[in-house]
Amino acid sequence: MTEQDGARRRTWLIVGALAVLSLALVFWPSGETKTKTVSAPSAPSSAVTSAPGPAPIGPAKVRPAWSAAAPDGDAAPPEAPKTLWEQRLARAQQTLSAYLESTKYPPESRPISEKPDLQTTSQPLANQLPFKKKNGAARGDLRMKTWQSSQRLIADEIVTMTFACISGKGYEPSEFISAQTVEVPPKGLAATAISFYDDGSHGDERGGDRVFSTQFQPSASPQFAGYNGYVNVPVTLRCGGDETTTFFDFFYTSGEPTRFTGKVREVVEKGSLALYLELLVKKAGNYKLAIRVDDAEGKSFAYVAFDGDLAAGMQEARFLLFGKLIKDQGAASPFKLRDLDGYLFLSDQNPDRENLKPTPGAFHTTQKYGAEAFSEAEWSSEEKDRHVAEFTKDVDNAKEKVAEEQSGKTPKEYPEAGVIVK
């Protein structure tokens, strides 16, 4: 072999090796893109640099200590299932296990921890909104802070509404100009003028603190006689030399479709505690009601709902405090029932409800029951069986497909580029 032959051979060996390597790169399944949550498409051409938001009120936030070990920016998540069928199996298993966990108790008898926003009947509302001038332009140095004592009013109830104009330095001096109540949707009724105060009166906590308040009672206004629906309260004020309008909203029901008499009947039924609340029903229909339950030590543990039709007259609404829920929560009796609220549901209408006047706080203490009175049995129903059967079938099917992939019986498929793999 001449030197040229040797060089030619080496060249072909190198070319061949490169070819093999290229083929390996093309066909070798890569896990990297499958673990990124998203491939980054180009940003929309209309994208502009984010306008900085208003400076946060208060001291600058310090990066929390717990974040030391956390990833930065677009760091890849931990290894996720790689093939499509592995992904589908994970989804199917999650669907089944989450459903089984959730359906230990019936839908109407839940741990109160599942209702983070429904812990009591109280429905205050706080908002922080931009300060928009009359021409619509927003001022970056000012924000409007609003707070109202409730989002729903019934009969003669009163709402306290509060606003303040704030900057990075705190509350700014403001001048109240005008406010009025507007029906939503408009009904053409004469609006009710409202005044806000910063003099320590009309619900204002402290005079001269640049925080304005008022107390409004819809039942005192002819505008709301016989009313049931949403109400909007636009408030115009001046702050920092500019006029702006901020808003409050609430739902007002002038009448009471039903009233709780205060009587409760208790019956242990099949290992659960049925609580029959007596109601004087003025308007027959579908009622959606809820109560909260505390145990003997005052620990809140259950949210129990009623959803059913009630005829007019003296009726009972049955609330079922599920036995397994009592057991799992370790709740000892006597139980305290508290915070009843709800509404007459007006299906397919707008507004779709007439609210009950809530019964805030504790209204009944049950008898004492031994632990043996309540059952450990999970909730069972046709609805649950139907879903469990289907979800189990999905898991079994996916397992079979994964096994076929792993045995080589079927080729492995991977999600399209950019698809989240979890």
Partner: protein, 317 residues
Amino acid sequence: MGADLGMVVAMVERNPMKRFIAAALSAIAAVATLAIAPEAGATNYSLYICGRNCNGTPGTYTNFSYWGSSATAAGVNKKAVNWDGYSAISTTNSAVRDALDCYCTGNNFCYVAVHSAGDLQLGYALAQYGGGARYKKNATPNASGVCGNTDGTTQTGWNIKWVDVASGAGGGSELANMGDWTTSSPLVNDLKTGNARALYDHNQTRSKAFYMFAGASGTAYSMTLPGQDDEAIAYHSSMGAAATGSLNNWSDWTGTYFARTNTANASWVEWYSSSTTLWTNRYEQFIDQGESYNHYTNGAWGGISSPVRADMAANAL
């Protein structure tokens, strides 16, 4: 197949061996047919519920103009659940219930994808009607999108496997609070953050998982929408937080970090931590770290609907 083999048996009946083989083949075919025959009428569907400004007609289940090309893969047997995207949730929800009755009862099951106010529509349907008796339907809609009954019996609620939520407006939008959207639309009143959150019990999904996809490519309304947003919906809504607030991506650490307190899933998102609590049965499936996805489908499977469509195509079988 059994009949064909029967003819073969007749033709070879004079040959015992062949007769035996033919009989065996018939038996095998019969068993195979039984093994692979699906449960009578059992079909999976993928329902897509549109959002604000949908301008759709209820019952037009093949009209995907709000979303994108109907030829694009987006899950098995996909159906578009259209409504006007303007009127109140309470008065338009019947279109959603008709679709759920049509395709998610009897032996049929559904995967559901929702966008924007479609989140309110489905949440309202499940919370307000999901425990009621629903007629089992034949998945054959009339011109109004209503299907016929199968056997006249009912079942409790709908057969839904899980829900993908593209930038859900279940928590409302501050743009509605501020009057940035037309105030004559009854839907805009529903979309005010306080009203949206009080409209129904968001924790009551009949135990169905809601996978949340949140976009963060929002700039024009950053003064109004707290934390990350996709130009219409802030993270507190699109991730299903139980209270309004400013939630941010990891890289924007001047705000409150998004955290998931539902523990059914383990994922990298748990590296985040804050005091934010989600509504029950919410699982964050996609957080837009790259701030690449805005709110708008643009009739081309665009924006945050893109990863939802991909997830449905991959998992809705």
